[in-house]
Subunit: 742 residues, 2 copies
């Protein structure tokens, strides 16, 4: 029984003792394999970037319906800053390149190392939760899992600057995932009424202080992040719908659409202001980042077969990418858990490796003569331009260095262009593909904010262009289009989204005629990859041990009923309860919800009155509205309470049981729980199929589900189901003989 | 009590008696105002196209999870045929135009009248359900309301040919709504395993014979319809998501995406085949129907103000459109309910009016000199071309006739173009706007399949171009862009969609740079119009009296609890029940679900066993698996039954109680209901807030919700909630003193 009640303990805010007890229990057992979630591996769960960072179930319940004032999100500022700093670094680097090669290398690598160390230090020492993409955490939050400090202001700060330094340090990482996380953090800051710690509070924001509105805000924030990152407003809405959000309703669609419309208008205005070029690389490409609009697309059967081949191989490579990322993350977790110092050292090692590759590989590549008619642009030593001179003689350029020693955006743009078929040699494309594919995998686990979109798009685009070059004799399609389709196949193979990727690619490239082919490739690569493993974000959520509720029940749940998984023994309060009993219960357990029972003499027989939340009980105890007699005095309490006392506090800001000071005399007094009891909880009969209970729990976004007895003459409540009771680990732990696939 | 149990009666398949009793009850009351749903107005509910056509609640329940094989949908064939016949008619008409004006008019009007009569006769005599847009019915079906014959094969047939004749007859109607309905009908035909009546059955389709898969298929069909109509695959997915579907899950997103991808590829192939022009107008414009891709769009503050103005006025006009459509529909209902003959006459009258306007109005318009450099194209007498000669002297053209005497697609295309600013005079645009706006409203209610998209886009585009011409001195924006924004504002004002309209317009026009402006206009016009009334489809659903469940609970429901609205008296069966009792209950009531109670001696006390469905009870009675003793023999029954006996029959194909022949001796025997009882029904406590019960009912897509008592010592079930119990009419009928807004 002890083990089962521990499962409830994870739910507590700050229930670290029970939590560590659980972890050490698993470790002592010695049966933890490489396939276990990292939950069991990491003792110091707040320091490792890929460890579980708390499993504080967020109480996303069906609350009352109030309107959300939608807000514009200024994530694009991050975008602008990244571009600017990146540009400064490139300026320095390219200038050095012309002098002496070793000196240039040390300047280049040194510059990268300093930026990388800065990013890693921020991440390791200030906010470990800011490491990684952030999309899995946002996805988990929107599913109802409130991991520790994942949306805190410190995370926001580190995410912004860490991402700027990380991208500028020349890692193969993107800024898209971090921008989604940034958007969600800003939304959360608004949702909890600002931050009291950092003296940023607004009074009018208190209207958002409930779970439902906060969830809506964070969905809008995620949509705004994608909209700003890809300059794709419709793609942002669809991303929020398809990947991020777990619950959806038409009002939310309309709110995210409004948010991204504001982002689009603001972005458009800023790009207009930056038209003169005074903002550096920001605004390059206008609203459509990679405009590859080329005449009508004609294709025949061999072309279609080539596209199908591209999709199948892309799907296989994409799922292999996920598999390797998984292995690398688990390996890095062993290093990262040793402490922040080790994290920084790992980042430095990867940075040096990246610099060596980026500077060393172009030496292998042959010089290409400049195409005719490109005077002035080729060869270039400037900060942008796709014909980099590197070590080549005049009128020649090094095509590999054009890809490696450039911004990611420029590299993607030159891969997507169809201008000249022979711009990139086959060997160059192959080397670049291997470089990006491997380095992308190696880089993801380190302690910097790192998005996955850009590495995947880069690898996919070079893979597609490579296939296009190889299939040149067979297919009439342009290599630029092959490149786009390759990127689509990789995205489909790793992230497993469909509509949103399709629209994002459309908005990135402005090539509507490609739509049927892009849809085809996405479908094929997703289908192929789904045969092997899960999407990369789902995989990370699982690996972190976050109790994510899928939107369908597992097959084996059909053979169980609700009471089979209810944990016991159950702790419940009487309607008018002794203060000491409540204090004891709150102190000893870490449950978040307690059933309240109406008992004689107030009613004829025992009845379920409802559920009281721990946070509300704490507020009630703090208010010391006690009575010496065991009588109902709920109306008095109601008069003396204010609704805002019970508003949801910011993350980790709520009252703790240890904050309360209650005298021995008060311990003997009574308190009427009726005013704070939710008298209308959702209930299921104990004989309801577990699969149906799981669907109910998931669809309505519950935190607690009461199980009531079917037969008369028993206590009015059998137990409470929480998120953890539906997790496969828990259910299969209780019934190890069940076949999980039946 | 009688009134309340009647509410359950509506649920029956074929419960016409109870239904008419209810209707006449309302009529006798004399209190039916103009604002009542038509449910109360129409006695002959199967003949009027806009009457309620039955309110047979579809049992969309949470069933087991099986995979759907997705299917390609060939709705685009309709598209092709419409274009072809339309073209034939235009050929005849234009040839006549050159001879004598009266003769030409009679040929034109006669041709229209014949086509209109054909469409109306099909609709009035064969399938009245095929009239109108069809989108509201599909939307209601996906919400769980299975209206009579709305997806039957006869409806499909009439929808296809009626739509072809209707569009060809020169009415201001679109083919988009009918194509969505066609897609849904085809999907339904596949979903019920073909049609036995028309000897079209496939064995492998029996896997779809459950509600969940059929619902998914019909969603895919609706998406395919939009994808084929607008050649907008992504727009189709989003339309299905935003407007049609009530429940959504990621697997469905992926299936609709697959369906529309197949539609896109097939369309692309057919357009490629038709490149030589041998398919008439089909394929004109390629995959992007109205390609208005024009250089970079620049706009300043006055332009933005002009766009805001356009959006606000568009929203007001859009909601006025909805209001007028509502009034016209209610007026026509009075005519249509008199019989099919009156319906046809109404259609003929509207057809003559349309012909007169289309032929008469251009005479008012002045002739315009042909623009320089348009030799050979201007003036034209051919079937397409935007410079129609009409009555004008050589080298002049009549711009109003270019809009009126053309296909709808060509008219939209010429309104969207920016080629020459002065192509259309202000007076022309104003006349065309009034013509389309008024005739669109007058035409919608008549007995032909008629879509709303095209009239709204036409009216919006002419309105936008008119505003653009008027604001010419203030704004630098192109009038073609104004026209597009005007169309967006009208669409937003009438249909109230956001993301899907945005993507559809994007895919129609291939102008990604307009995206921020289109989003802005859609948001403004939707917000403005929402202040006045509901979207046009929601309005039609309400007017037809279909019990549509909104995805949020009404405010006043928070003040009620579940038992407040439960209808009584409750009829329940014992686990082993006498055949006569069951037969009696099925005969006397029209309930669709009956609670089954476990009683002594089989259990210690009365317990809720589950719910048995009427259709399953009928199958059980027909099988005559009876016993003389009152004992449990469920396992014997299970052995002798096959699962497919209980598969869901096609619409209206199920067993009726009158089909059963049961002897008096058998009536005294017993039957064990356990094998057919759903022993795991969803339950709520009687004290659960009605708002929460409504959310549960809606989110899980239930058909029956059991209400169980809270206090011990009472029968184990209080009642059953169905869709009708949550309808505002029912709740406010029971509690007239409640303020519906609180």
């Amino acid at each position: 029984m002890d083990d089962r009640s521990d499962d409830h303990d994870i739910e507590v805010e700050g229930g670290i003792h029970a939590y560590e007890r659980k972890i050490s229990g698993i470790l002592d057992d010695g049966s933890v394999g490489f396939q276990q979630p990292l939950l069991a591996r990491n003792r110091k769960n707040t320091t490792s970037q890929i460890a579980i960072v708390g499993a504080n179930t967020c109480p996303i319940e069906s609350l009352d319906y109030e309107y959300v004032f939608v807000f514009p999100n200024f994530t694009f500022l991050l975008f602008w800053k990244t571009e600017t700093i990146n540009e400064i670094r490139l300026l320095g680097r390219v200038a050095f390149c012309r002098v002496i090669y070793f000196q240039a290398f040390f300047a280049f690598a040194g510059c990268n190392l300093v930026l990388a160390t800065a990013a890693a230090s921020l991440c390791a020492f200030i906010a470990p939760a800011a490491a990684g993409s952030g999309i899995p955490e946002v996805k988990a939050y929107l599913n109802g899992i409130d991991a520790y400090s994942i949306l805190a202001p410190s995370t926001l700060f580190v995410k912004i600057f860490g991402s700027i330094f990380g991208v500028a340090a020349g890692f193969v990482v993107g800024k898209e995932g971090p921008m989604v996380h940034t958007g969600a953090c800003i939304a959360n800051l608004l949702g909890q009424g600002g931050s009291r710690k950092y003296k940023l509070t607004w009074k009018w924001l208190r209207f958002f202080k409930n779970d439902r509105d906060r969830r809506d805000l964070i969905t809008c924030g995620a949509a705004a992040g994608v909209a700003a990152a890809f300059r794709a407003p419709v793609g942002g809405v669809l991303f929020a719908l398809e990947e991020a959000a777990s619950w959806w309703r038409s009002a939310l669609l309309w709110r995210t659409f409004f948010t991204t419309a504001v982002v689009a208008v603001v972005l458009r205005t800023l790009i207009e202001l930056c038209r003169s070029g005074k903002c550096g690389l920001f605004g390059k490409g206008g609203l459509i980042m990679f405009d590859v609009n080329s005449g009508p697309v004609l294709y025949s059967t061999p072309d279609l077969l080539a596209v199908v081949f591209l999709g199948v191989v892309g799907g296989v490579l994409g799922s292999l990418y996920n598999y390797l990322v998984d292995i690398v993350l688990r390996t890095y977790a062993l290093i990262n858990e040793r402490g922040p110092g080790f994290k920084v050292m790992l980042v430095m090692a990867v940075s040096i490796l990246s610099s060596c590759c980026a500077f060393g590989l172009p030496w292998i590549s042959q010089c290409t003569p400049c195409p005719i008619g490109s005077e002035g642009k080729c060869p270039s030593v400037g900060r942008s331009g796709i014909y980099k001179s590197f070590q080549c003689p005049p009128n020649h350029y090094n095509d590999l260095s054009s890809l490696l020693l450039n911004t990611n955006d420029d590299a993607i743009r030159s891969l997507f262009t169809s201008r000249s078929e022979n711009e990139f040699q086959i060997s160059t494309l192959a080397m670049f593909f291997v470089f990006v594919y491997c380095l992308g995998i190696i880089t993801y686990g380190i302690a910097i904010p790192s998005g996955l979109f850009i590495p995947v798009i880069l690898a996919g685009a070079s893979y597609g262009r490579l296939v296009g070059r190889l299939l040149g004799p067979v297919s009439q399609l342009d290599v630029g289009l092959f490149s786009l389709l390759g990127a689509a196949s990789f995205l489909g193979g790793t992230m497993r989204m469909t509509v949103s990727l399709c629209v994002i690619l459309l908005e990135l490239t402005n090539n509507l005629l490609m739509l049927p082919l892009v849809m085809l490739v996405l479908l094929i690569s997703k289908t192929v990859a789904d045969c092997f493993n899960k999407g990369v974000y789902d995989q990370i959520v699982t690996m972190k041990g976050l109790p994510y509720m899928e939107d369908h029940a597992e097959p084996y749940m059909r053979n169980l009923v609700a009471k089979d998984v209810v944990a016991g023994p159950l702790l419940s309060f009487s309607r008018v309860e002794k203060v000491g009993v409540i204090w004891q219960a709150l102190k000893m357990t870490s449950h978040n919800g307690f059933p309240v029972i109406d008992e004689p003499p107030f009613t004829e027989a025992s009845e379920l009155c409802g559920i009281a939340l721990r946070s509300h009980l704490l507020v009630l105890l703090q208010g010391k509205r006690f009575s010496k007699q065991k009588t109902t005095f709920g109306s008095q309490i109601l008069r003396s309470c204010k609704a805002r006392d019970f508003a949801k506090a910011g993350l980790g800001k709520g009252l703790k049981i240890d904050d309360l000071v209650i005298s021995d005399e008060e311990m003997e007094m009574y308190v009427d729980l009726h005013p704070i009891t939710n008298t209308s909880p959702y209930t299921v009969l104990e004989t309801l199929s577990l699969a149906k209970a799981a669907i109910l729990f998931r669809q309505l976004g519950l935190r607690h589900l009461c199980v009531v007895p079917k037969t008369p003459g028993r206590p009015p409540i059998v137990g409470i189901l929480t998120r953890h009771d539906f997790m496969p680990e828990h259910v299969l732990g209780l019934y190890p003989h069940i076949d999980p696939l039946k």
